[in-house]
């Protein structure tokens, strides 16, 4: 095939014209910021696979070389965290489902149904979001330990169930606490979504004879699927990564029911100092469930948007 030579010459002149100093400096700035954010991440991954000697001797950003490479850190971290993984997921998944579901119901009741006193209740929810966790720690511990010892009440039930052990009952107060404190933000997130939905859906369903609960169950809940994906991802990340309530309600990192966030600070620490390789491995392993949830639900979220379009 014939082609003229002019097609193959690179037009340097136009390239230079397109890029002004302003554009170049923009790109440089962006690259610097990306580097700033990615550097710790990269350092962590590299450190996770290095032996202690390699950690001490090489630059943190450098990948592990032949002798410096080891999987021992990962194995150790995995063993240390495996029990905690189960605890964290056992607590976080029901807590997320609970707070998202209740949040959606509350938002429906406040946005798509008309009744007197709505505004007052909404203000209460708003106050709930801004409540600092630190302020309620002591009353919370008092409540679950002295006033309403749910953990010890439920323990016999847990002993009888398969897979679960008696000590898992201690996670139930934490689960309920997270549901309660998660509802306000979930409500507000869903409320903004419901405000964007046409009220004619609810009106048409009313005229069709459906009760308020039936309208939620059959019309609003199915339509909110994209929002469920979003709020679920957000809530799971919040609950799974949460330290303060876990620290208050679960007595220590050495207990069998400790969650991942409690164990992480203790992993790799010994009298001779901190083993960074183990620490980094543990950190990345701990982040895996959140990543998996994100991937799983992001797909459902995107699909939900697709069918509605």
């Amino acid at each position: 095939m014939a082609s003229s030579s002019s097609d193959q010459t690179f037009d340097v002149a136009s390239l230079v014209e397109d890029y002004s100093l302003y554009r170049i400096s923009q790109y440089v700035l962006v690259i610097l910021f990306i580097g700033f954010f990615l550097a710790p991440l990269e350092t962590g991954i590299m450190t996770a696979f290095k032996t202690n000697r390699a950690v001490a001797e090489t630059i943190p950003l450098m990948p592990p070389l032949a002798e410096g490479f080891t999987l021992d850190n990962m194995m150790f971290a995995f063993n240390a965290l495996s029990g905690a993984f189960f605890n964290s997921l056992f607590m976080a998944i029901p807590a997320t489902i609970g707070s998202v579901l209740f949040g959606s119901m509350a938002a429906y009741g406040l946005t798509m149904v008309d009744w007197r006193g709505q505004l007052g209740v909404l203000v209460l929810f708003l106050i709930g979001i801004f409540l600092p966790y630190q302020a309620v720690l002591v009353p919370l511990a008092r409540f679950w330990n002295n006033i309403f010892p749910l953990a010890s009440m439920v323990e016999p039930l847990f002993v009888a169930l398969p897979i679960l052990q008696g000590y898992h009952a201690n996670l139930v107060p934490l689960m309920i606490t997270h549901i309660a404190y998660g509802i306000p933000i979930c409500t507000i997130l869903f409320r903004s979504y419901y405000q964007g939905l046409p009220t004619s859906y609810v009106e048409a369903a009313k005229i069709d004879g459906a009760s308020i609960t039936k309208i939620y169950r059959r019309i609003i809940l199915p339509i909110s699927k994209p929002m469920f994906g979003v709020v679920f991802i957000y809530q799971f990340t919040q609950i799974y990564n949460e330290f303060l309530f876990a620290f208050t309600l679960i007595t220590g990192s050495d207990t069998p029911e400790a969650v991942v966030t409690l164990i992480l600070p203790a992993v790799g620490a010994s009298t001779s100092g901190v083993d960074f390789g183990i620490r980094m491995s543990a950190a990345f392993l701990a982040a895996l469930p959140t990543l998996i949830i994100y991937v799983a639900f992001a797909e459902q979220f995107a699909e939900g948007l697709k069918t509605d379009a």
Partner: protein, 374 residues
Amino acid sequence: MTKRFGDTTAVEDLSLDIPDSEFLVLVGPSGCGKSTTLRCIAGLESPTEGSIYIGGEHMNYRVPQNRDIAMVFQDYALYPHMTVRENIRFGLEEESGYTSEERDARVEEIADLLGISSMLDRNPGELSGGQQQRVALGRAIVRDPEVFLMDEPLSNLDAELRAEMRTELQQLQNRFDVTTVYVTHNQTEAMTMSDRIAVLNKGKLQQVGEPLELYHAPENRFVAGFIGEPSMNFVEGRHQNGTFTSEYFQYPFDTGIRDDVGDTSDVVLGVRPEDINLKRLPEGGSSGLADHEFRMTVSVVEPHGDRNVVHLRHPEDASESETIHALTAGTTVVDAGTDVVVSVDPDTVHIFDMATGEALHNRRLESEVEVRNV
């Protein structure tokens, strides 16, 4: 009933009696309170004052679920996550006296009637506007309610589809014989579809009656100007000693008109475009004109094919402040700029009080142009 939203009165003191099986159209410009009235009948709003009765039963404290009504919304409000079949079936689920199989059968029956059987397993998002409208209709019909409520269902359709659906809606209403309250801002839909029309303006009922009654005997200027397309011509002026004088015209009143108008001096003369007759200016200019004839110049002609709308102004009216428009047959050729003789038969004239808008005199129908019953 009266409905207020805070300080605004949306509907004021409206009273209507709608007999069984009637197709009543609520018509009026935007913001006149027709949609609010419909929503009050549906139970989606509560009237501030007054009562609503359906089938003799007091409805004010009943939720929409229990009123045995069905509504077609302007945006159809089809549930997007359900198929057409499920959409139509949804309303039937709350109706007692059906088994599950009977419900399915009825959905198929209604879908067949509306010509949407092939779409039953599709989602509303996949359908065209016209098809979605039929599904919305199906959803209403399937429940066999006491009243159909329709809130501007044809506004989102293109002109051709709208005309087609108008006929179909009338056929459906005749077939099912269900009382229908239909809201629109389009007076053509009102005229062609209704048994009776109720015209509203700014929350108040202007007139209610049969279409031709409103057309030929409007009770006020608003109804006269709203019903009829192209709209009635209005000329404002003074009445003195049996003659009407406006800025450019003089029109003597005959005894019938004079009796009705009485002493009122500030009046508005109304005449429908089809009652204005045009003929060519004779050789002698404007000298040989009779009492009810005037010389005018054609400013703009709008050809519609079956008829022409001819806009006319007085030769001295350079700023076109007082133009009137006439209708001629489509085959009559009139050029812009031509001088013509315009004649208006006093039998076809309406007179309104300028201050109140009330009709003082409406046209006579006993001439040979009267309405004939076939």
